[in-house]
Symmetry: C2
Subunit: 85 residues, 2 copies
């Protein structure tokens, strides 16, 4: 089993109302040193694919086809070490 972390974030030019709301909430709680919050998705994908290169390629394909909307979002993939259980 291999595990991949996929981080999906809004592109910097896209408004992030959820992040702004979280920032307001943090300010209301007294965390006034917070200047910005950007929100995104974190996905942990487990695959039954022994080949590391193929696994990564598949996760890239998943991100492009389903996990991220490339018009407004960026994504980053990290393959976890020790995923060969």
């Amino acid at each position: 089993m291999r595990k991949a972390e996929v981080f999906v974030t809004l592109k910097p030019v896209v408004n992030d109302p959820q992040g702004l709301t979280i920032r307001s909430g943090l300010h209301a709680l007294g965390f006034d040193k917070v200047t910005d919050v950007r929100s995104g998705k974190y996905l942990l994908v487990t695959l039954d694919e022994p080949d590391a290169a193929k696994a990564r390629q598949q996760v890239e394909e998943m991100a492009r086809q389903l996990l991220a909307n490339e018009v407004i979002e960026d994504y980053r993939i990290t393959m976890l070490q020790g995923g060969g259980l």
Copy 2:
């Protein structure tokens, strides 16, 4: 400015309907080697706090107070390098 990444995930014992739906979607697209998907939140917090230890402590406090619901969620914090701009 310091940047911290906060990853918020559902605890392993908590059902994750969003993750299951994404898994079904991936299977429908032909990614049949996917055995599991867990979904979570990714937050990038920017703070105006020169002291690294204090910044980390504040982000921990934010996670406990607002960003994560510790009853059903776990969180992990990573301070980004080169955040001293």
